[in-house]
C-alpha cells in the first residue's frame, strides 16, 4: 500500500485508508481511483495535478 501527496495542497491519499467519505473504499490503489475523483482538500482533479509517492 502506497501513499500519494497532492502537490498543490499537501493532501495525502493513503491507499490503505482510501477515502470512504468520497466512496473510495480502503485498499483502493491509486490507479483504481476514478479519474473523476478530486482532492478533498483543494478540489483539484486527479488528472490535473501530479501526485508524488511519499
Amino acid at each position: 500500500m502506497k501513499k500519494y501527496q497532492c502537490i498543490v495542497c499537501g493532501y495525502v491519499y493513503d491507499e490503505a485508508a482510501g477515502s470512504p467519505d468520497e466512496g473510495i473504499p480502503p485498499g483502493t490503489k491509486w490507479e483504481d481511483v476514478p479519474d473523476s475523483w478530486v482532492c478533498p482538500d483543494c478540489g483539484v482533479g486527479k488528472s490535473d495535478f501530479e501526485m508524488v509517492e511519499i
Binding site: Q5, I7, V8, C9, G10, D21, E22, G23, S36, V38, P40, D41, C42, G43, V44, D48, F49
Partner: protein, 394 residues
C-alpha cells in the same frame, strides 16, 4: 551592457508563484525562470497552516520541498530571503533589496495578501499574532509552547469567526486548547453560510469546547496580572494567554501601485492576467480578475494554467467553473460554494443529524442552483452539485 531581457521573473514563492512556475515549465522547458521570495522559499501549502496542529505538523515538516529542490525541479533560479525594492516597468527590470537588478521578459506578481489588523489599543497589541505564512506559523507554534506572558498557552482569543478563525478554533482543540472566538457579526462564517449552517457548525465546535461570542469586537489587548486582557466593545473583558487575529485578507498592491499599475481592491488584471503595465502580470491572492478577488486554491490554479499558456505563447483567458471551498473544520465538515454577490434567490435548507444540505436557488418559476453549502456526510456531494452551478467566469 545590460543583461538580456529573456527571463520570466516571478515575485512570490507561495502556491501562486510556484504553481505558475510548474505550469510554465510544462509548457516551456527553455525559458530562463527566476523566483524571488522574501522568505526561505520552501514550498508549502498555505491552507495547511490552519489544520497543522491536528496533523502534528511543525513549520519544518510543513515544507513539502525545500528551495534548492524546487530550483532543481523547476530548472529555475530561486532567490530566497530577498525583498523587491521596486519595479521599473519602463526599463523592464526589478530592483532587489540585495542591490541586484533583475531584467525580465515578463514579470509575474504573486505577492499574496496581508492580514487585516484591527486598530487595537493597549500595551500588548504587539503580542497579537496572525498566521498568514509559514514564518507566522512558526511564531504561533512557538507561542503555544511559551506564550507572551511566559507560560504555556491554555486560553486563546481568536478575533474573527470566519473561515480561518473557525479552522484555527477547531485545530487548537487538537492541542487541548478551548479558544474563545469573537466576532462583531451574529454568527460564524456569516458571509458564506446560511444561518442554519452557521449554527450547526457553531454547535459542533462548541460541543468540542470552543466558545463563541457574537456581536462584540475586541478594542484593546493589555497586560494583566494573570495574562493578557482583551477589552471588548460591550465593556467586558476576557483574560487569555494568546490573541490570534483572523479578520480577513487585503491583497498586496503597493509594489504594483508604485510601479504605476492600476490597482483597485487587488492588482487589476484582465482575463489573461495582464496588469495595466506591459509585460507585468499578476495572479493569486494579490490579483483582481474581472472584479473578483478570490483567495482560494482553485481559482489560483485556474489562473496559473491560463497564465502559463499565455507566457508560453498561447494567449489564454482564465475561466472559473463553480468553485466549492472546503472549510477545514473536522468537528463538522463543511463545503461551501457561495452564490455570486448579486445573485437573486434564497437558501433552501434540508438535513438530519448527520447532514445539512443548503441550496441557494434563484427566484422565479424554474429555480436554478446558484450556490450551495454542504455539511457532515453530505460534503461527499460536492462534485455532483458543483457541476450544476453556473460557471463563475465563463
Amino acid at each position: 551592457m545590460s543583461a538580456p531581457h529573456d527571463a520570466v521573473v516571478i515575485i512570490g514563492s507561495g502556491l501562486a508563484g510556484y504553481n505558475l512556475a510548474r505550469e510554465l515549465r510544462k509548457a516551456d522547458a527553455a525559458v530562463p525562470l527566476v523566483v524571488v521570495s522574501r522568505d526561505g522559499a520552501g514550498f508549502y501549502s498555505k491552507p495547511m497552516l490552519s489544520n497543522a496542529l491536528a496533523g502534528k505538523k511543525t513549520a519544518a515538516s510543513l515544507v513539502m520541498k525545500p528551495a534548492d529542490k524546487m530550483a532543481a525541479e523547476l530548472n529555475a533560479r530561486v532567490v530566497a530571503q530577498v525583498a523587491v525594492e521596486r519595479i521599473d516597468a519602463q526599463a523592464r527590470q526589478v530592483v532587489l533589496s540585495s542591490g541586484e537588478v533583475l531584467p525580465y521578459r515578463d514579470l509575474v506578481l504573486a505577492l499574496g495578501a496581508d492580514t487585516i489588523r484591527l486598530p487595537l489599543q493597549g500595551d500588548a497589541v504587539d503580542t497579537v499574532l496572525s498566521v498568514n505564512d509559514l514564518d507566522d506559523f512558526a511564531r504561533f507554534a512557538d507561542a503555544l509552547d511559551q506564550g507572551p506572558c511566559g507560560q504555556p498557552v491554555q486560553r486563546v482569543a481568536i478575533l474573527g469567526a470566519g473561515l480561518i478563525g473557525c479552522e484555527f478554533a477547531n485545530d487548537l482543540l487538537a492541542r487541548g486548547i478551548q479558544s474563545t472566538v469573537l466576532d462583531v457579526a451574529d454568527r460564524a462564517l456569516s458571509r458564506l453560510l446560511p444561518p442554519e449552517a452557521s449554527i450547526r457548525l457553531q454547535d459542533k465546535l462548541s460541543a468540542g469546547g470552543v466558545q463563541f461570542r457574537f456581536g462584540v469586537g475586541a478594542q484593546s489587548v493589555s497586560t494583566g496580572p494573570n495574562g493578557l486582557v482583551v477589552g471588548l466593545s460591550d465593556g467586558s473583558t476576557l483574560e487569555v494567554d494568546l490573541v490570534l487575529s483572523a479578520i480577513g485578507l487585503k491583497p498586496r498592491t503597493d509594489l504594483a501601485a508604485q510601479a504605476g499599475a492600476q490597482v483597485a481592491r487587488g492588482v487589476v488584471v484582465n482575463r489573461q492576467l495582464a496588469t495595466s503595465l506591459p509585460h507585468v502580470h499578476a495572479l493569486g491572492d494579490c490579483a483582481e480578475v474581472a472584479g473578483l478577488v478570490l483567495p482560494y486554491v482553485l481559482p489560483l490554479m485556474a489562473q496559473a494554467r491560463a497564465l502559463a499558456a499565455t507566457l508560453a505563447g498561447k494567449p489564454s483567458d482564465v475561466a472559473y467553473a463553480a468553485m466549492p471551498v472546503a472549510v477545514k473544520t473536522p468537528a463538522w465538515p463543511t463545503v461551501v460554494c457561495p452564490p455570486p454577490a448579486d445573485a437573486q434567490g434564497q437558501w433552501v435548507v434540508s438535513g438530519d443529524d448527520e447532514n445539512l444540505i443548503a441550496r441557494f436557488e434563484s427566484t422565479g418559476s424554474e429555480p436554478t442552483l446558484l450556490g450551495f453549502a454542504l455539511q457532515g456526510k453530505a460534503v461527499s456531494q460536492r462534485q455532483a452539485l458543483a457541476t450544476q452551478v453556473p460557471a463563475l467566469l465563463a
